[in-house]
């Protein structure tokens, strides 16, 4: 087991290195000089040169990269070109807002998905199964940002029951009913895709387990249904956990669309603004942090999986 952990850790470090290279290299994909975005074309050469030296663009690429990595490792993600504020601080608070949505959405999606998937699998062939399959596949085929709009139309416009956009407060964890109200629609929207993915996955895994003979064996031994379900779920857990980890990562990384619909000041919107303002330090920092989070979550999921299922330890 220890060997497996060490191996995975090394692998993760390598991946993080690769991620940082991609995040850093992203801005150099922009055609032309990165400075051209920041300055008007008529800027005097002296100013251009000065800024170039300040930003370090005059040094060779790998030197720039190392300097950047050095700063990142001390927690300094740079300064926003647009607002002049520290990227790290802004990003962390924006990330916090995203987590306020992502975690409940993940919990909701996983719970609903697992429940529906298990129920559907145990009712294989009957109408309940078919209904669920339709819901699940609809959830997968739906652009969640559109669902958000649809929910807004129904609940905010037509019925005026819930607010259409915004956080309703000042950020951070919800402290009032009003803030929670603002959370409801975005959380439900975000939970749709995980629910669909997990639901289908759990259903097919449980079906596969049921097709083996050991549940029949368990019943022959006299176990009650509830206990059988428990055993089956225990077997279905490892692959389901892996997918859940992935989904959590997607929620963190892909919340940008929903945040745009609901005008939610999370990390997604943060990145969106950075793109439109061509705010390079913010963009680099955000991409790096979000991707690294995803990698770390996957690592944790792999480790938990290996803990539960000894076969996974290669």
């Amino acid at each position: 087991m220890a060997r497996f952990v060490a191996f995975r850790l090394c692998h993760t470090v390598l991946i993080l290195f690769g991620v940082s290279v991609v995040a850093f290299g992203l801005i150099h994909l922009i055609p032309g000089n990165p400075l051209d975005i920041l300055l008007p074309p008529e800027a005097p050469k002296a100013v251009v040169d000065q800024l170039r030296a300040e930003f370090g663009f005059d040094k060779p690429l790998h030197v720039q990269y190392l300097a950047w990595v050095g700063r990142v490792l001390t927690g300094n993600l740079g300064t926003s070109v647009f607002t002049g504020l520290q990227v790290t601080h802004e990003l962390l608070s924006a990330l916090g807002n995203t987590l306020v949505l992502a975690v409940p959405a993940a919990l909701l999606g996983f719970t609903l998905g697992t429940t529906f998937g298990t129920v559907a699998a145990f009712n294989h062939g009957r109408p309940l199964d078919k209904v669920f399959s339709v819901i699940a596949i609809l959830g997968l085929s739906m652009p969640h940002y559109w669902l958000g709009i649809a929910l807004v139309i129904v609940f905010a416009v037509l019925w005026n029951a819930l607010p259409a956009a915004g956080m309703g407060g000042t950020g951070g964890l919800p402290t009032s009913w009003e803030e929670i109200q603002h959370m409801i629609l975005p959380v439900v929207t975000l939970s749709m895709i995980p629910m669909g993915v997990i639901g289908r996955m759990v259903r097919s895994t449980v079906l596969e387990i049921l097709s083996h003979e050991f549940p029949t064996g368990l019943r022959a031994k006299g176990l009650r249904s509830r206990q059988i379900v428990f055993h089956v779920l225990k077997n279905a857990a490892p692959p389901a956990l892996a997918v859940m980890g992935l989904q959590l990562g997607y929620l963190l990384g892909g919340s940008i669309l929903v945040e745009t619909v609901f005008n939610w000041p999370g990390s997604g919107q943060f990145m969106n603004l950075a793109i439109f303002r061509r705010d390079i330090p913010v963009l680099q920092g955000t991409v790096l942090v979000l991707a690294s989070l995803f990698v770390v979550i996957n690592l944790l999921v792999d480790l938990v999986q290996a803990l539960i299922d000894p076969r996974m330890r290669r």
Binding site: H11, L14, I15, G18, V19, V21, V22, L26, I27, L29, I30, P31, I137, L138, L140, S141, M142, P143, Y145, W146, L147, I149, A150, V152, I153, V157, L158, G249, Y250, L252, G253, G254, I256, L257, T260, V261, M271, N272, A274, I275, F276, L283, V287, L290, A291, F294, V295, N298
Partner: protein
């Protein structure tokens, strides 16, 4: 020895019932023909594609021409049966023309990614440990980015536009396709008939072409079809954010964004482009499922 001599006389093998030989793909086709859901879905897809291809005939108005007095007319308005958008353009016509771009931006990246990723995956599966590690570790790095994040980051950096959208999505999709292909290739590579082919002194290319490829293509096809459904949603999402197709081109994601402002005035009209996306994506998903069931023939051993 005696018992064997007895059997000597009966040295003729029994013939299987005389039916026409069915190849694997023929059998798959047969099963698909009997799968009503997949047939229905394929018909719908065909309809959507035809509408998009024959847009000039299917549309009722010029999709780019608006008129201030006709803004945000509701569904059922005579002459504009699906209503008009916020600048007065006919929604039905824009949907139909938008289908072209949306479908193109959805399918093209998957096709490109399948070609590139498929080749890389094959190489990684067949090549030695070094080559495999080289390719798969790089793929791991790209896999480390959630696809939405990567697509947005790339598009955000290189700019909007159809070409850039397709480029960005292709890059995003190459990694999962390489993974799937490599996994399939490795599984096939270890099967006995590939070993037998190696033992017959055949050149590597022939083995790849005749033994490995035919057994891998099915799985890739299923996966690619499911990717198309994601691709359509993603490309519409990029346009929704302003990173994909640029206005005034009609595209479903773009329309969704523009109409967002109008949800208070005419909610139904604002939701229509989304319906188009859902239907198309759903069809591809169901098609992929249907293909997978049809190919999963538990052949008798």
């Amino acid at each position: 020895m005696a018992d064997i001599a007895l059997v000597r006389a009966v040295n003729t093998p029994d013939d299987t019932p005389g039916s026409e030989p069915r190849g694997y793909w023929n059998t798959v086709g047969d099963r698909l023909m009997h799968d009503r859901v997949t047939l229905g879905v394929s018909a719908v897809l065909l309809l959507i594609i035809c509408l998009a291809v024959f847009a000039p005939w299917a549309a009722t108005h010029d999709p780019l021409q608006g008129s201030v007095i006709r803004r945000l007319k509701p569904v059922g308005t005579p002459g504009f049966f699906l209503g008009t958008d916020e600048t007065g353009r006919d929604i039905w016509s824009r949907l139909v023309y938008g289908g072209r771009l949306s479908l193109f931006c959805g399918i093209a990246p998957v096709v490109l990614a399948t070609m590139i990723g498929g080749m890389l995956g094959l190489l990684a599966g067949i090549g030695g440990r070094l080559l495999n590690n080289l390719i798969m570790r790089v793929v791991d790095v790209f896999y480390a980015f959630p696809s939405v994040l990567l697509a947005i980051a790339i598009c955000g950096v290189i700019g909007a536009g159809i070409g850039n959208t397709i480029l960005s999505l292709t890059i995003v999709f190459i990694a999962p396709i390489v993974r799937v292909t490599e996994s399939l290739t490795t599984q096939v590579k270890t099967r006995d008939f590939v070993e037998a082919a190696r033992a017959s002194a055949a050149p590597l290319l022939a083995i790849i072409r005749h033994q490995i490829l035919p057994n891998v293509l099915g799985g890739i096809l299923v996966y690619a079809t499911s990717l198309v459904s994601i691709s359509i949603i993603l490309s519409a999402g990029l346009s929704f954010l302003g990173l994909g197709v640029t206005p005034p081109n009609p595209e479903w994601g773009l329309m969704l964004n523009a109409l967002r402002q109008s949800i208070f005035v005419n909610p139904l009209v604002a939701a229509l482009p989304g319906v188009a996306i859902v239907i198309t994506s759903l069809c591809f998903n169901l098609l992929s499922d249907g293909l997978r069931s049809a190919m999963d023939i538990k052949l008798p051993s």
